[in-house]
């Protein structure tokens, strides 16, 4: 029976690792949904209905966490006893900070209208590639049990991820969404 505090990987019968078969995850998610979704309990007691809502909410949260690489990385570190909320100066290398500053400057320097869209697209794929590379590093360090090293890479991932979101939102502003 599914529990509200069950480990997300156990919930989907998956082994605890950063590399995940997303297709399999989605299949397991759908199979679990059929068991707990409120639609199955529309004739049930208020108590069972509420439980269905809570279980499904938990299942949805678990799925969205494992589906997203950055959230999955944070979750893996957390269940292994690391506090991802706290970042110390040593966690971040000087070269990373410099690179971040450069990328940010090039984002700010772009014109505020549609003419920036092309450059934004380039910047987006540049950051995307860096993210992919770092994710591979994270996966390797985590798999070999180098948790401290994995946490350091995670914080780098966080930086890049945040930057990517900013690029996307500046795209949206220029597209008029």
């Amino acid at each position: 029976m599914q529990q509200i505090n069950q480990n997300y990987f156990q919930l989907f019968d998956l082994s605890e690792s950063f590399d995940l078969d997303l297709e399999k995850l989605s299949e397991k998610y759908h199979a679990r949904q059929v068991e707990v979704h409120p639609d199955k309990f529309s004739g049930a007691t208020e108590k069972d209905k509420l439980r269905a809502v809570q279980l499904t909410s938990y299942l949805n949260e678990a799925y969205s966490t494992l589906k997203s690489p950055i959230k999955r990385a944070a979750y893996l570190l957390t269940i292994n006893g690391l506090n991802v909320e706290s970042v110390s100066q040593n966690d971040l290398g000087m070269d990373l900070l410099l690179e971040q500053m450069q990328l940010r400057e090039s984002l700010d320097a772009l014109p505020k209208d549609e003419s920036a869209l092309k450059a934004l697209g380039h910047l987006k794929s540049e950051v995307g590639e860096k993210l992919n590379l770092k994710q591979n590093n994270f996966s390797r360090e985590f798999a070999s049990g180098e948790l401290t090293q994995a946490k350091r890479i995670f914080h780098e991932l966080q930086f890049l991820h945040k930057l990517l979101l900013e690029i996307e939102s500046s795209e949206e502003q220029r597209l008029g969404y």
Binding site: Q33, V34, H37, P38, K40, S57, Y58, N60, E61
Partner: protein, 620 residues
């Protein structure tokens, strides 16, 4: 649950009963009702064979409200009492409505404090919920007549982009006529179900739903009976009506009337524009006559007039693709829904954007009602949920106000529902005992740009130094897309909970009401606790007296014994039936009556103890 049902011997074996449930498409322009006839889902016609019920209600002082076709013809002569497009009023504040051109010929009641738009009609003041309820009642009557029995429930569809207030009000309208709402279902999702179950297609499907007054685009992944919404977006103030208004404005400017239009002329202008729009779906041009002016409008001219509206719909498609992280090439099919997708300019623009001809095998008017009927059949228990499952999302981000009037998003848009998220807050001043929370819905960063859903205050936080109190706020979005917020104070282990269902345009009064009702509950809880305490106290005394009498009964004076016995019997009765105060008072009296007896016992036992015998030995 069914496994636990045990039949009495001789009892008739339960035959699976077909339970009456319907799907209702409560539209801006037209509404429909569908039901399962055992195998298929049927859209139900009225006595004259019409499937569409125009969502128009005419109120008069003498008779019950008239809904549908007859009301439309009345609109020309009785515009102030004939309400159409009421769906556009749902969830809106009176201020928003007063400035909207399409509602200017109604007399709104501006005195109301609950800020739900209400119109002054010949039958009294009618608010948007009541008017919607009158449309629902007509559909329910139609279905019950067809089925020959009472309905047990309904699935009602709403635009995917409806916010919390609009959803709440739709549910309230059903509640007003005693209709059990099994689920609020998003219109594009309903359409996808009807389409997907029929075609057995799999892959990524875009549902483009342009109705009379609302617009939705949803992107779904269809896989092995699972309908998973990946992203949805829309505009609840964009629909076929807007094409009418633009055309009407053009006709007016061409006819250039010398005087202000009266309400009847306004109504006639809108009717004419609507008629011309429909004709342009079948022919290349149509002639117009209005207030002595005559002219011609071509399809191309109409397309030019409505260009901005089309641009808005395409921009929404782009946003949905982006939110789902899919490219145009990854879309397998496009399904058109809503009467307004009959317009060639709409079809052509969608086909051009996606580079694919949209599917039009379904009647765009009926497909949503059919999907709702299918879901109703499942939820009422006629059909198994194993056949298919819907996974929908919340269309708008939910958040709370933080310092500097900024919004902190708690549940972002396109999160699969049901969804729950907890966030912890703390006090920022020493001794702070109250905290106010402002829940908003929308994508913008500033509170003032989002829709306010609820404001509530959490009181009685234990007084502590700043930052010591821990308040956990839980947001829960249910399968209807409705939000409830719960706040708990955790620091002392004692949890205080306030549950507030966000409502439309909550003003200070209604919040006060909500809070005082939660205080009333607290009062009730206190009374229950006092009663329990009094009952325990009384029972303990009765037990003590009874055991004392069995030991030292000889110490009781006869008269005393009778009186005590009387009161014990009376108190035993009160414990079962009395209030905490009554029980407490009689317990006190029994205590007084027995105090002499108790002190005589004490004297005796002390004397015995002094003689070197233990109480225990004496008792034996």
């Amino acid at each position: 649950m069914a496994l636990l049902k045990i039949s009495e011997p001789g009892e008739k074996l339960a035959i699976p009963v077909h339970r009456f449930a319907v799907g209702i498409d409560l539209g801006t322009t037209n509404s429909l009702v569908s039901t399962s006839s055992g195998q298929d889902i049927e859209v139900l016609p009225d006595d004259a064979g019409n499937y569409l019920l125009p969502s128009v209600v005419q109120y008069s002082a003498e008779v019950d409200p008239v809904v549908g076709k007859i009301a439309i013809s009345a609109a020309i002569n009785d515009p102030k009492n004939t309400i159409s497009s009421v769906k556009r009023l749902l969830g809106r504040s009176i201020e928003e409505v007063l400035t909207a051109p399409q509602f200017k010929h109604y007399d709104f009641d501006t005195q109301r404090t609950d800020s739900i738009p209400a119109i002054i009609t010949a039958a009294g003041i009618k608010d948007s919920v009541q008017i919607s309820a009158d449309i629902l009642r007509t559909l329910v009557d139609r279905a019950e007549k067809f089925l020959g029995g009472k309905l047990e429930g309904a699935v009602i569809t709403v635009p995917a982009y409806f916010n919390d207030a609009q959803r709440q009000q739709t549910k309230d309208a059903a509640r007003l006529i005693g209709l059990n709402v099994l689920r609020l279902l998003n219109e594009p999702t309903a359409a996808a179900v009807a389409y997907g179950l029929d075609s057995r297609d799999e892959g990524n499907v875009v549902v483009f739903d342009l109705g009379g007054g609302t617009f939705d685009v949803s992107l779904l992944s269809l896989k092995k009976g699972v309908f998973e919404v990946l992203a949805t977006s829309g505009d609840t103030l964009l629909g076929g009506d807007d094409f009418d208004y633009l055309l009407a404005a053009w006709i007016k400017s061409e006819a250039s009337p010398t005087t202000e239009l009266n309400p009847m002329e306004e109504a006639e202008l809108l009717r004419l524009a609507n008629l011309a729009k429909h004709q342009l779906s079948d022919q290349n041009e149509t002639s117009l006559n209005y207030l002595g002016w005559s002219g011609v409008i071509t399809r191309a001219k109409f397309a030019k007039l409505c260009e901005s509206l089309i641009t808005r719909t395409i921009s929404t498609c782009r946003r949905v693709l982006r939110d789902a992280s899919l490219s145009i090439e990854e879309i397998d099919n496009i399904v058109l829904v809503g009467g307004s997708t009959r317009m060639p300019i709409v079809r052509d623009s969608v086909a051009e954007f996606f580079g694919k001809v949209p599917l039009t095998d379904f009647d765009p008017d009926k497909v949503v009602a059919i999907g709702a009927g299918i879901q109703a059949d499942v939820l009422i228990g006629n059909k198994s949920v194993d056949d298919f499952l819907l996974l929908d999302v919340n269309p708008l981000s939910l958040g709370i106000e933080t310092m500097g009037e900024l919004v902190e998003k708690i549940i972002p848009r396109n999160t699969t529902i049901p969804a729950a998220k907890a966030q912890e807050f703390t006090t920022f001043k020493d001794g702070q005992t109250a905290m106010s929370l402002h829940v908003v819905q929308g994508e913008r960063e500033l509170v003032s740009d989002c829709r306010s859903l609820a404001r509530f205050e959490l009181r009685d936080i234990p007084s502590m130094v700043a930052g010591a109190a821990k308040i956990r706020v839980t947001f829960q979005v249910d399968a209807d897309g409705l939000l409830s917020v719960m706040a708990e104070e955790l620091s002392t282990g004692k949890t205080a909970e306030v549950q507030v269902k966000p409502s439309y345009g909550l003003d200070a009064d209604s919040i006060e009401k909500m809070l005082s009702s939660s205080h009333e509950n607290a009062k009730e809880d206190m009374e229950i606790r006092a009663l329990r305490e009094a009952q325990i106290e009384a029972r303990q005394l009765i037990d003590a007296i009874s055991s004392a009498r069995s030991i030292d009964g000889q110490l009781l004076i006869a008269q005393e014994a009778v009186r005590i016995e009387e009161v014990v019997v009376e108190l035993q009765l009160l414990v079962e039936q009395g209030t905490s105060v009554q029980i407490h008072e009689l317990t006190e009296e029994l205590n007084r009556l027995s105090s002499e007896f108790a002190s005589r016992r004490m004297d005796l036992h002390i004397g015995e103890a002094l003689r070197g015998e233990s109480i225990d030995e004496v008792e034996q």
